[in-house]
Symmetry: D2
Subunit: 413 residues, 4 copies
């Protein structure tokens, strides 16, 4: 049996950052201050459910702010975008994580700052929910995402509550502006318990991969979120996930991300994979020092920058060849808008001869609706120009075999 | 000869938005106020240089703020990231386009607000440049991006200068904080002339496609910018391009974009295409009303949202089959990190038998360095397990044929 | 027995403003919203304890923010300026009354905004005081100032507490920044009870007159506050008492003042009198509409503007005359710095002859220490020039009869 | 001839602060940076025109921001309050001197910050004035206030203009908001020349005394400003003259004041005197270190705090005595509201007998209109009660001899 080199690659990255012991663990509550500063872990989970990790990947820590995007996704899924957008805006706040920042409509600026996160927490399980029911709903949901039963560090949440004046201040101001209706103490209790759910780096990688996969759990295959919900969650992570260095992070790392004061850090490559790191020492902006280093290295080495301009979809038209009276058009890869454009460009540039045109989709992976539409329109034009058209689709990637006018197209078997 | 349906599709979109005459043309200078509010155009240009357009695609208008990302890219290319980052930050400002917004280090918040754009303009052609030389450099560069000689609307820039108090106020404040050294009037003149370069929607689509293509001009094939420069430019467009609705835009449209008060609007899909629209009536936030509509429709219809979670790289391992003593591993698509992970995952899960393993790359499009490294390591492990390994790469997509330890691997011809 | 015209004069002023029913009663709690909007009263109390009033001068209402300057004075008296200044700054905040406004040292900007007033309340009776003891101390103190036992409207304070989210938000933020140590709910309860102490316009006039009189109660003659405490309290009322129209108020009315949302308004002329009005309808800035009108009229008619440049101390030297060998210098009025300057100026300009100089103080009212010093120095110089000097002081306004070198001066009987 | 001790007293104060060489001279232009840091001066001028000074009282320096209140007074006098208030507000800005701070109506917050001062400067001599005419008007006016021909340090103003980016930024922003109409460079030139008018500490004391005296020049006796203009100017100095330590200054010093970066500092006691100091080293807030010390000492020693609660008007009723059938009421001091109240209180408390009442005004200094009205009303009531009333007014301080019903009252000669 062969061994897998990816964990070794991840271990290499950990070795590179291991000696960087700069930064300080969060000190605003005794439990976090007393935390072991040394654990170091990284984990990846692909949208296919393959998990890779290195270091202290099974050490538990509290999610803290990392819970925000997952709670936001759950609120969007439960309440719909209209209600969520009415409650919390999606603009970057340019402020540190715990500021009270309301926009002109008295909405918290975004769900990644505490004001927004407290408001989002209150949307879960309806306005009449008890705190325990709301938190249980979140815990159960996070557990389903993680693929195991997560527990709550109630000792930590009790300690957080003791020093929760800033969050209580925020909750009362939210009540004052009718953003939330619940008792302020209960709202903060509920949010604090959400933050106190314990995870490992592996858990976070799996949870995050569901967002990367458009809502489909990478292991169970269950659809837990709409693709649109995932897209919105990733968008707000990209624009506001890293507090007042969101722009710097997008430029240098280019991965939608979220950090927590317990030392966790997650990132998502849409359609590809979820990433999680754990290292408790924080930089002055409250982000894990070594976690940031790991993300920079992964982004650089692995070409994971969202604004990467490598042509992921190039060469969609593999070839156009003629064999006797038959012209073969061979497509390859994922059929998105760009691929269908390449197809259309190719056929209008091509001088067809003979009497038959066969579209070979045997190397095609997927079809986006716009590509379906475009390619069917191209086929229709070939047919209208007098050719007999047939499709070869051994893997059934095309949903149906019609021209753009709805008439049936011949299928080769 | 077949006709191309994409322009028809674009025309359909224009028809959908045509009757929306809400909004007002910019009125702060007489020339803009007197502009015909009715032109409507959309243009796309793929990274392969295919251009599609509809409507008034050859009507000229001034670039205005759309010049900002191109000037930023030129400054990054000319001066390097270090000098540019020292001068202008990359954080969203949450403010309207013409506010003076400096960060704690007295840097304008980002190059998409006027304060940042004036500072960036001053970096072009060195500190000792005359205004005319600096502007000519920009004009020549923008012309090379557009593929034709662009001209400057000097009547408009004269008019803009007359009412340029806000920009003059900004320029003096920048001088006061030593962000710029030039005479304030000259700095504003230089920036205003940059803004007064005239383009059509088609020009903008072509110019933008170079950013989408990592700096390679889609038609001439000349490398005009480093891929890294394009990535940074796209990043700042994503986080700050749409002023104080940057977050909303990223959520709903998901395309890095920039608008200008003359009615232009550009967007970029990294690795895929550049998009430009033109319609002079603006919403209260200063963005083209119909331009925004068109972008929303394109994003929705064409699946162009940056946070789209469709699995662009799925199914990289097409099949593993055995024929006698030979195992065939057939890869397909672009080999990025995810694809190489799929390969590794497949080989460590597979129970090999026989004595030979052949990696078939004939359906593979491209190789990212991390994928090269990962796949070579996988091949080495197969070899070390006692198999004879060979590569079939008819299109020469793999740069060289070595294992991860540097020894040569057999290539099938 | 003659009748006093001042109440008639005050009634005239009430008649002038009576028909102005613009504005709205405070509506943020039911009890205030249900208040009768019609009562109208004005009351004055001189530093000699003469009280004049008109209208509904015995209708009770809650002090609300009018309690702030009295609590501030009590805190200064109890804790000393050092501790008070360490806790709350004295700069105008330019903000509405209920904003959280902290300076660079995390101190509330001034004691007239709620953040500052809550912090000041906490200083009363020491950090370990119960809420009830603290509130009783305030109530007892306010009662002593008013000259009768005041009571607390506990129904109103209960109602205020129900909707006290803004104050609770402020209290938690103050705790967060270690400005206060007490439980946030208790801090707000304590402050709210302070605000709920019931007074009449007459009560307020008497209370305010003590501040005008440098801390001496105008009726009982008891010294309740140091003169310095009164000066500091008046100063902060002048700079910050009228929220974000402090500058406008100082320009147009020129009387240090404070308003409360129940409709009260107080003002103080240092050394002269306290003024109070009551009319519940408020302008959009939260100040009593008719109260403001009354103050403007009183300031205009009665010459009460603090910046009034009328020469209160002119003509201090009534005459210098000679009778035989004796020169008589007759002083009149209050001997402050200006008066003593006039004396010195007169004697150095005068050509003395004869052998005796008599200083006649029989028309002099009071002596400021600087005047004592200056005049004694002048007398010494006359003596040193060879004249025999004597003082005529039938009312004993000069504390002792020495020259500036400490030697005795002859006193005429 | 006797010598005057006040200069000696002032010298003592200078000696007390002489050794404090902390702080730095303004360094933003070479001329100020090169200034001799050592001069030290103090000067007083009473409303009677007596001038006292000590130290380097004839060293010239530029007015800088000290010109602001005088230009404001001139604008009020020339244009009226309505136009001035429409242009510049009177609220404290809580900001440093050179910030651009506009209120909701796009007015600079007050005339003591640069934005307001530039706008005020533009009001002088009308909108069509040339710069030279405007500046000459200011220079001539300031000269009349100072009592000698002042000159402009054009070398300094040239130097200031070179580095005037902040003011130019402000001027352009003011133009942008239509607060000023003139060319921005000319506006700053005009303001800078105003600031470059050279004065000595003695000049400033005299100029300031005119404001203290309600607009009457203390030496020439010419009325240069309305009393109302002086009151408004003093009000805005009190609320905004000391930038972001206005509240602190009002609490601790209590004298309306204004400082300039060349080291000058002025203060005004309404109705009493003008004060000026000069010492170029500045504290971090831009105020003269030793100047602030001197003001604190003068305020403390001389009882000059505006909120001082000493009873300036006490004992207005010197005595009520009876001689046969005649009752004598002897008044003394200045007859303001408080004095007239004392009169009324005395007569309604008194049990009159006999048939004649004589009001003796021979010790009365001045009459405020409200006192005239009140006292005449009291006399009428005495008359109506059946007494024969006469007035003894040897110094003619009462304007006419009528009862409040207009009928004539007997006058004793």
């Amino acid at each position: 049996m062969l061994t897998m080199p990816i964990p070794e690659y991840l271990q290499e990255i950990l070795d590179n950052v291991h000696d960087n012991t700069s930064g300080e663990v969060a000190d605003y509550i005794p439990e976090l201050k007393a935390a072991d500063p040394n654990p170091l872990a990284v984990a990846l989970c692909t949208v296919d459910g393959h998990i890779y990790s290195a270091g202290d990947d099974s050490v538990e820590f509290t999610m803290q702010s990392i819970s925000k995007p997952f709670a936001y996704a759950l609120a969007l899924q439960e309440c719909g975008t209209e209600e969520v957008f009415k409650t919390v805006a999606v603009e970057p706040s340019g402020e540190a994580f715990n500021e009270l920042s309301l926009d002109g409509e008295n909405r918290p600026m975004n769900p990644m700052i505490n004001a927004g996160a407290i408001a989002i927490n209150q949307l879960i399980n309806g306005p009449d929910s008890t705190v325990e029911d709301r938190v249980e709903k979140l815990r159960a949901y996070f557990s389903e995402l993680a693929g195991r039963e997560l527990t709550i560090d109630r000792g930590l949440s009790d300690s957080e509550l003791t020093g929760a004046d800033r969050n209580l201040s925020i909750a009362h101001m939210l009540r004052n502006y009718d953003v939330i209706a619940d008792d302020a103490h209960d709202a903060v209790l509920s949010y604090t318990l959400q933050c106190s759910i314990k995870v490992t780096a592996r858990d976070l990688a799996v949870m995050t991969a569901t967002l990367a996969a458009g809502g489909v759990h990478p292991i169970t295959g269950k659809t837990l979120l709409d693709a649109r919900v995932c897209r919105l969650t990733l968008s707000v992570m990209a624009s506001a996930g890293m507090y007042n260095e969101a722009g710097q992070w997008l430029s240098s790392v280019g991965i939608p991300a979220k950090s927590g004061v317990a030392g966790g850090l997650i990132g998502i490559l849409p359609g590809q994979l979820g990433i999680a790191t754990f290292s408790p020492r924080l930089n002055p902006k409250g982000n894990s020092v070594r976690g940031v280093e790991i993300f920079k290295q992964l982004s650089e080495d692995m070409g994971l920058h969202l604004m990467s301009t490598e042509q992921v979809s190039g060469h969609a038209v593999r070839s156009i060849t003629q064999d006797g009276d038959t012209t073969y058009i061979r497509m390859q890869g994922a059929m998105n808008f760009s691929a269908s454009e390449a197809f259309l460009h190719a056929i209008v540039s091509h001088e067809f001869s003979g009497d038959t045109v066969i579209l070979d989709l045997s190397r095609v992976l997927t079809f986006h609706p716009v590509a379906t539409r475009m390619i069917k329109e191209g086929l229709k034009r070939i047919r209208d120009a007098g050719y007999s058209v047939a499709i070869l689709d051994p893997d059934d990637v095309l949903p149906d075999f019609t021209f753009s006018d709805g008439t049936l197209c011949r299928q080769l078997s």
